[in-house]
Symmetry: C2
Subunit: 481 residues, 2 copies
């Protein structure tokens, strides 16, 4: 039979073009520091570069890859070592290659049966990771709990809210909807995804209590207990508390021990969101951030932030997988299979919102094996050290003040000249392309956030950034004096 007509790229062509793409990325890695970190594109500018119509005939691969460079004015370089904005979304070479293997295999692991290795490697690596971080044993798959990779901490928090709702109301087997009585709690400093999760779950924005924080921006447990009591007296049903280990604004650490005790007392689902900071627990000296985690029903952190595993990769753990599965399982005929019916396997589709899933554990496996525990610890420690070094420089400069404690690698600070000066300073720095940092508000004041966490950030990048901050400070001070 003659080979049929095909428009597919042959394996040999893939090999050739693939080598070019790898070289392209290696070149990018070598040059990334030379690009302005923050894109200066205007709305619509990038789109205007693209042809109005898709091509009728296929185009040569070189032309396609070549056009990626045209997008560069619209790229903000998250992989630049001069990226200090938000929290990072780190790639690393072993992660990229692990993810590439995953793309090549193209496995879809919605059920154990649809590719057992996809599920079993994930379960195993998440158990490894729990051990590496010193998480409570109840989160291990060998206990009644277990870990699963979610896309983001936002989705993980939503999943926690849903499981909590289930435990409080047997919702999945319930025929009617929510009745507006369930109440959740988090701090005023919690991530916006908690509010989003409460809304998605149909519980009503008004049913999330934002507990105020102390001078370190950590949740006040006394107020939490008091609000729970009030709500109970009002006939409402407290069901869920989310504490944050390292808030987005300032990496504030909610007191897990005190909050957990309250959750236990009232029988509330206790979720801990450590999206950024969780990685620090790789180092024994930072493991105090998890004190009280033994009370938690669920926990998440993002290897795609600070653990050099490219997006998307959130590690989500539950202590009671049965409740989680009951929350999310719907089993139509076309997904039935013997392994599922045996009860001897995990079907991860029942652990999250989506049905389909790619083999994301590979990139995590590659990262842990490439770096080893030692390598991961080294880079986390180094980032923390550099953040503290910057903190020292800020502390001795009378024009600046620290706006929050620096437990790990995020430095919140501000010029004493007020919001206008700080906004101007940030804008000038970001426009310069030399570095990228973002802001928040703490105590009602415009505050600069400087996060030392990008994979390739080293001492010279932080030093240069501080030098640039000082230079632009002089300019701004002159301009507003």
């Amino acid at each position: 039979m003659p080979e049929p007509k095909t428009f597919h790229m042959s394996p040999e062509e893939f090999r050739r073009h693939g080598h070019v793409v790898i070289d392209w990325i290696a070149d990018y890695q070598q040059r990334v520091e030379t690009f302005p970190v923050l894109s200066q594109a205007k709305p619509g500018e990038i789109r205007a570069l693209l042809p109005a119509e898709p091509p009728q005939q296929g185009e040569p691969f070189d032309a396609i890859l070549g056009d990626v460079a045209k997008l560069f004015p619209g790229i903000t370089h998250w992989q630049s070592p001069n990226f200090f904005a938000y929290f990072p979304a780190n790639a690393s070479a072993p992660a990229i290659l692990g993810d590439l293997v995953s793309s090549g295999l193209g496995v879809q692991g919605m059920l154990w049966a649809t590719s057992p290795a996809c599920t079993e490697v994930e379960t195993h690596i998440l158990d490894w990771l729990a051990g590496m971080l010193g998480l409570p044993e109840k989160f291990l798959s060998t206990s009644a709990g277990g870990g699963v990779i979610q896309d983001t901490a936002s989705t993980a928090s939503l999943t926690a809210v849903l499981a909590a709702r289930e435990r409080a109301t047997n919702f999945a087997s319930n025929q009617s909807g929510c009745d507006g009585k369930l109440v959740g709690y988090t701090s005023t400093q919690a991530h916006s995804s908690i509010e989003k999760a409460i809304m998605i779950a149909g519980l009503g924005r008004g049913n999330l209590r934002l507990i105020s924080v102390d001078e370190n921006f950590a949740m006040k447990p006394d107020e939490l207990a008091q609000r729970i009591e009030e709500d109970k007296r009002a006939g409402l049903i407290p069901f869920f508390v989310c504490a944050t280990t390292g808030t987005t604004s300032s990496t504030a650490m909610d007191p897990l021990d005190a909050i957990g005790t309250i959750c236990q007392q009232y029988g509330l689902w206790f979720h801990v969101d450590a999206a950024m900071s969780g990685t620090a627990a790789l180092c024994p000296e930072f493991r105090w951030i998890q004190n009280g985690l033994a009370y938690a029903d669920s926990y998440c952190f993002d290897p795609h932030k600070w653990m050099f595993t490219n997006f998307d990769c959130d590690a989500f753990y539950v202590a009671d997988r049965k409740t989680l599965i009951q929350t999310l399982s719907v089993l139509p005929e076309y997904l039935k299979n013997q392994a599922t019916e045996s009860g001897a396997v995990f079907d991860y589709r029942d652990w999250h919102i989506q049905l389909g899933r790619r083999f994301r554990a590979l990139k995590l496996w590659f990262v842990i094996r490439h770096y080893g525990i030692e390598g991961l610890q080294h880079h986390v420690r180094e980032h923390v050290r550099l953040a503290h070094k910057l903190t020292g420089w800020i502390r001795i400069d009378p024009r600046f003040e620290l706006a929050a404690p620096v437990p790990l690698n995020l430095v919140c600070f501000r010029h004493r000249g007020g919001d206008v000066v700080n906004q101007a300073l940030m804008d000038r720095l970001n426009r310069s392309g030399d570095l990228y940092l973002t802001h928040t508000k703490l105590d009602g004041k415009f505050t600069l956030r400087f996060c030392v966490g990008q994979t390739n950030t080293t001492e010279r990048h932080v030093e240069r950034a501080w030098k640039r901050i000082l230079e632009e400070t002089l300019v701004v001070e002159r301009g507003t004096a």
Copy 2:
């Protein structure tokens, strides 16, 4: 300053290892047909191969990559041309390379401002795609609607439910939760994700009406209208209808025109889920499947199924992006920026559940440009032709019967010997490793599903599969006679 100690892979090492990984994938592509399609692993078998503890020191890359081969007994080869199970989750060479560029750039496009190209390329390519499929103009970003890449159709459907809930109740600005009065509608043949979405949204399993289907497994619009009337009379609030263009069991086509008219009459949000079949509309001769789509408020299909774009990539369109954004937007201080405040840009974080997002439009861009419209059409047509060829063979074999119409590329059929025979036949075929197909139930009977849609499936694979079906049929008939 001396270069600091590092455990990172240097760009030069990445280049070297990257070439090896590309070659590894090319080799895999060349050999994929020789592997048993369905893994025969036993629960725990793959996990038992992995070391109990993570490595303290990093390991050489060759050792890491070498261990992937050890997982092969636990891999089901979704990229094998002999994969006819479920719906496919297709990779293709340009998609893998586009995704690789995305991993290398490591851009996180939660906001327009965090990498304008990530948002603008996505908006533009989804407009291209709308044109390529002949979608209604209201779904274009240049109208009041627009497209966004979601991970899966499950999440897209959930997003549609949430937007519908918003339109019906102004939920986001509402302080209280759902009151159990909202009622949604879909057919008995709809995907399980619709039920999951209704539950996640807090609306109650009992508040989803499963409308029965006609002899072609398509929703009965008369019954839909009747149930809506009944619910209204009972004081409930009908708010959402999901129709399916190509159901999972049998690619049944719900009558969008009739259903859409009813939705319009009662003011209900009309979502159309075309997860698998939507790709067919690339070919004008199959565009009839979209008749009536003009009534829809939202629409989704999965390029990661049949459009050769590797997982995850669902294209989700809404006619009224304002409602969608209102549903999902929460704006904390640390995400505020001038572009967002100007209103001149899309911030895609407000279009889905997650906050963070990778640059998935790149792989779609690469696929469309590599194949051109012509190439995509060719392969879709070829798959449909082969499914119809198989249909012809089944039709003339008196031992078999077709279980449903074959509008596109899914053939549902069964041996006339009953459930036991069909289950045995499927199990023997799947155990042989020569092909992989799955089952459903139609009219209460065990039915084999044979989907011709894998990227590399050609005539000889379908012919050989049919030959193997006939061979095993003889064996099963002998065994059960």
